[in-house]
Amino acid sequence: MSLAIKPAAPSGVEALARLAAGRRQRNLVTVLVLAGFCLLLLLLSLGAGAFAIAPGRVAEILLAKLGLAPQALLDGREALVVLNIRMPRLLLGALVGAALAISGALMQGLFRNPLADPGLVGVSAGAGLAAAATIVLGDRLLAGMALKLPFAALPFGAFFGGLVSTLALYLIATRNGRTSVATMLLAGVALGALAGSLTGLLAYLSDDRQLRDLTFWSMGSLGGASWTKLSAVAPIVLPLVIAVPFLARGLNALMLGEAEAYHLGIPVQRIKAIAIVLVALSVGASVAAAGVIGFVGIVVPHLIRLSVGPDHRLLLPLSALGGAALLVGADIVARLVVAPAELPIGIVTAFIGAPFFLWLLLRRGRIAEI
């Protein structure tokens, strides 16, 4: 027998059920539209670029790769451009975009603040420091061993730096198994400042060449995408995208506050710990593969919340799709606008993201307490 919750007037329950069903339908449409949009951008990315290839030819190359057309079609520069330049590039863009957007949504859920950004946690700064160290000191260290710096050193160095800064952060902010969000935020700021100053020191010590490299790296680029890099990043980002919806319930409950979430039966400390680690891994991997790309973590979750609401069950997967679409789209712009040269992608996302961020600040009070 149910509790004293009295049976509501039938019209009330029905009306509510109808509203809920309508909402679910609209959400489904949004999901399909976004997925379709993402797919469209992926195809566009495959077909557009500085190197002119007819769409028909692109299709031929794809079919040949899948084994559905004669292999001879795979000869020539066009196939190389499509399969070894554009394909890994758009896949990396999609993965990095998804990772950055999800990390943003996770951070905002964790801090219960719409302005929280993965960069706050200090992971980007740590990865940046490691990259700077690799650029500036790597040659020097290895010169003594008469070795040349392997190409993959930079991404792996950056990832390692992100991981170390996350561990440091976690150790500082966790006492007796309880993670204090406020402490973590402050520790993240402090670690970020430390990493920033050490990076500045390295820039000071660098020569002109290295300084240029550092500058370009800090503006982000998908230009270095290759199948090798992809095989290093995908195993980290794909599980993230898949595992994250399992956190959805916990994050929803966390919106009410940690004490309340505990009352609702959510393992709060565990959720927080998992979320932190996932954010660190995904941001570290993204920064390692593509340099520093900002604003994706703020812009995308916000737009998604505006259209389907803050329920993490929808927010997280849709942020992944939206982030992928944003970055792939930004990359198309970066590649075409000054062809045959290319713009660093961080500039394009900042160009989109900064005005959006300002608009967000200006309209506060209408939607959320910021």
Binding site: A8, A9, G12, R23, R26, V29, T30, V33, F37, L40, L41, L44, G47, A48, G49, A50, F51, A52, I53, A54, P55, R77, L80, V81, N84, I85, R86, F151, Y204, D207, D208, R209, R212, D213, F216, S221, G223, G224, A225, S226, L303, L306, S307, V308, G309, G329, I332, R335, L336, V338, A339, P340, A341, E342, P344, R366, I367
Partner: protein
């Protein structure tokens, strides 16, 4: 059940916002499609003759000097001489931030790249595509310049003319050596890259500035540091340069000789007594290409006016205050 009057205005229902977003998205996609394929539809038909992409300022200079400019289809952003290079030819970006697809889109038959071009991923992709890449070693000496010209000429299939040009340049260097030997006491020269943000960046040993100073018969006053590094005020005074050399287009912005020597560090140098500041065009001075012997001789003439070395018109023009 209590009736609830909706006396508070509610924000735009989500369905409306969603519709707006969808329309915007569709419009955006179509615009992108139009734009993307428009660019792709550019005519990149390759001619039967050679198509060379030059990556590195000196490379471009040599190619133009050899009369091969018609074969050049793309240059990087450091190719500032001759001025028409960047204006007429397509830019492939900064020498260390190339785009593989961008370079390939010019359908090059040959890429000539100075040592240190990058990123390594892009060069690897170019090699994978079967595009020949000629690596040109970089160093800041007379022999290196002569060698550069020979290597570039050979790669571009103009070995003969390149030999001739290299020979002329070598002879110019030999003449320069003779003039240098006749110089009286050597002067101390400090190359200042910039004085922005109160930080003075100088050219230490093993930098391009070091190379040209040596060729011009000067002593690098900043030999204590390696490469381009900041130098403290005290160190500048210790260095006691007789001349300051800067790049003409440097934004020591509006830093005329008066302003420069007003700064505490510089005011205590021997150079301050005669306001001895020389400004020359950056690529001319530091490019280490075919014009280097002229640049070195011009610098020598400016450093040692008593030696009576004729400074070329070009040198004078570049040595604008």
């Amino acid at each position: 059940m209590l009736p609830s009057p909706q006396h508070l205005p509610s924000p735009a229902p989500r369905s409306q916002r969603r519709r707006r977003l969808a329309v915007a998205a569709l419009a955006g996609a179509l615009a992108l499609a139009a734009g993307g394929f428009a660019v792709s539809a550019q005519d990149n038909s390759a001619g039967a003759s050679a198509r060379i992409v030059a990556v590195g300022g000196a490379i471009t200079e040599v190619l133009y000097a050899l009369g091969l400019q018609d074969k050049v289809v793309g240059v990087d952003t450091t190719s500032q001489w001759p001025p028409e290079a960047l204006k007429e030819k397509k830019s492939v970006g900064y020498v260390r931030a190339l785009s593989a697809e961008g370079v390939l889109s010019l359908r090059p038959t040959l890429v000539i790249a100075v040592e240190g071009a990058g990123p390594p991923d892009a060069l690897a992709l170019l090699r994978e595509s079967g595009t020949p890449i000629a690596d040109v070693p970089e160093a800041f000496t007379a022999d290196a310049v002569v060698n550069k010209i020979a290597v570039i000429g050979k790669a571009a299939g103009a070995a003969g003319p390149a030999q001739a040009l290299a020979e002329r340049v070598r002879e110019a260097f030999v003449a320069l050596d003779a003039q240098r030997a006749r110089l009286p006491a050597r002067k101390r020269v400090l190359f200042v890259l910039s004085t922005q943000n109160g930080r003075t960046m100088v050219g230490g040993r093993n930098s391009t500035a070091d190379g040209i100073i040596a060729l011009a018969g000067g002593i690098n006053a900043a030999a204590a540091v390696e490469g381009y590094k900041p130098m403290t005020d005290e160190a500048i005074i210790n260095a006691a340069p007789d001349y300051i050399v800067m790049m003409r287009h440097t934004a020591a912005h509006g830093s005329s000789a008066d302003e420069l020597f007003a700064a505490p560090a510089f005011s205590q140098t021997p150079a301050a007594k005669t306001k001895a500041l020389i400004r020359m065009d950056g690529l001319y001075l530091l490019g280490f290409g075919p014009r280097t012997p002229d640049a070195a001789r011009d610098l020598m003439g400016l450093l040692y006016p008593e030696a009576g070395i004729a400074v070329s018109d070009a040198g004078k023009a570049y040595a604008a205050p």
